[in-house]
Amino acid sequence: MIEMHHIYKNYGNDVVVLKDLNLVIDRGEFIFIVGSSGAGKSTLLKLLLREIIPTRGSIKIFGRDIMRIKRRQIPFFRRNIGMVFQDFRLLSDRDVFENVAFALRVTGVPAKEIRKRVPLSLELVGIKDKASKRPDELSGGEQQRVCVARAIVNRPAVIIADEPTGNLDPNTSMGIMNLFQEINVRGTTVIIATHAKELVNHFQKRVVVLEGGRLISDQERGVYINAH
């Protein structure tokens, strides 16, 4: 589903962020991308969202060469990807229902459909009873669940999470990771960039390790290893 071959990404002439990266991710996989800050994790995610394009190499997502996606097609491309952020990025002036509905509204889903799908999504992440609360009335874990609900509400093929547990305590983090696993079981590909060593080791999933812009390890049922 995602194929990256010989990817290089430079900023300017000197700053090399990714070097000769090769990565193939299949439909339905659950994959951790780990590495210290500056290892290139964020850049990799940005490439997958077509926020940036590689300096060299080819990326195919859903069978499409992302270099060939025109600017005005990007929104339609992104509707296949659900994004979860470390800082949740919820709109503080709207309630939980509206925050999730937002993702459907902007893609032109009719109101009737929205009323049906948002509660389903909230139920799946376990916060159906918080629909009318505002984000600041929720705990960090609950806020992240809203963010996950928003990411899955339009049934994307892939969920990409950037440090989803970075702002959460260990117990809550475990809950969120379990949630991702549940989503994965339902058939959605899940890609998680993270620092959380214990969690990665606990889940025994595929682990890709980046170090200084290079892919140094890619293991099924892997563990978080440090290059140092």
């Binding site: 992104r78 509707r79 994004m83 937002f102 993702a103 509204r105 902007v106 339009n154």
Partner: protein, 297 residues
């Protein structure tokens, strides 16, 4: 655009104006105050220009008919004046009429003229009072007309008229200069304020981009919002100027009757015609340009 989308965008824009209440009030206030200053200046400028024009239009050329000119020569002079392309008004004043005016001007001492009123004793001359289409052309036209046969001499207040025209010209230019300056300032202030309302919502725009909203889907509510803020920001000063000018005009009419201000209806229309489109366009432009910056995600 789909009609359903139009309502959605309008609804979103209205919700956003309410949701960001203080920011909206601040934006409307900035737009209103800026346009109010611009509008006041406009009213002042219009009136000063109109007064200057009034004074200018009162300047006329008096063409005195040569004493020795016969009936025929006078007729020819009249037809030449009437045919002159630059003249707007040609009025014949007989010397009897001129004597009557003089008497009126002298008032109580009109008896001094008693010996001169009879036809043959009247020292005054028949004359033509003429006005040019463009007051500034008076000196030229006077010189030209002075050479016509049958003309005794020509008077137009030489030496007074030229500085007067110069003064009204300067007044007009200063007015224009400040108007343009004010308008440019208004554009910057308003565009920046609207930009601020967009800036505090850059996060929202970013999220929209991540969940797959098209650029136009993001833009439209901002466009409507800019329109709403600009419109309200313009209507307020228009109403305020209209009301206060009405009062000012009435007061002036009662107390300083020799000054005639431009009619409130005319000012109201002129001000509205400038400020409302300006507010709306600036609102829309300000928000559209500001959104563009955050769409590059």
């Amino acid at each position: 655009m789909h009609i359903r989308s139009l309502f959605y965008f309008l609804g979103e824009a209205l919700k956003s104006v309410v949701r960001h209440g203080w920011m909206s009030i601040a934006s409307i206030a900035v737009v209103a105050i800026t346009l109010l200053i611009l509008g006041c200046f406009m009213v002042l400028n219009y009136n000063v220009t109109s007064l200057a024009e009034d004074i200018k239009e009162q300047v006329q050329i008096v063409v005195y008919v040569d004493k020795n000119a016969g009936e025929e020569a006078r007729d020819e002079l009249q037809s030449k004046l009437v045919a002159h392309p630059e003249l707007e008004e040609v009025r014949f004043v007989t010397k009897e009429e001129a004597m009557e005016r003089l008497k009126k001007q002298m008032g109580d001492r009109a008896y001094l003229l008693d010996g001169y009123t009879e036809d043959d004793d009247n020292p005054l001359r028949d004359s033509y009072e003429i006005r040019t289409k463009i007051p500034e052309n008076i000196p030229q036209v006077a010189e030209e007309v002075g050479k016509y046969p049958g003309v005794g001499y020509v008077d137009y207040g030489k030496g007074i008229v030229e500085p007067l025209f110069q003064f009204t010209g300067v007044v007009r230019w200063i007015g224009m200069f400040f108007m343009v300056g004010m308008a440019v300032t208004a554009i910057f202030l308003i565009a920046h304020t609207i930009r601020l309302t967009v800036y505090i919502r850059r996060r929202e725009i970013q999220i929209m981009k991540y969940v797959g909203a098209t650029d136009w889907f993001i833009r439209w509510p901002f466009i409507f919002e800019g329109l709403i803020l600009g419109l309200f920001g313009a209507i307020l000063p228009v109403i305020l100027i209209q009301c206060s000018y009405q009062a000012a005009a009435e007061w002036t009419q009662e107390n300083i009757y020799f000054v005639s201000l431009i009619s409130p209806q005319l000012i109201g229309t002129e001000v509205a015609q400038l400020l409302v489109p300006l507010g709306v366009v600036l609102g829309i432009l300000g928000s559209t340009l500001s959104v563009r910056k955050f769409l590059k995600v």
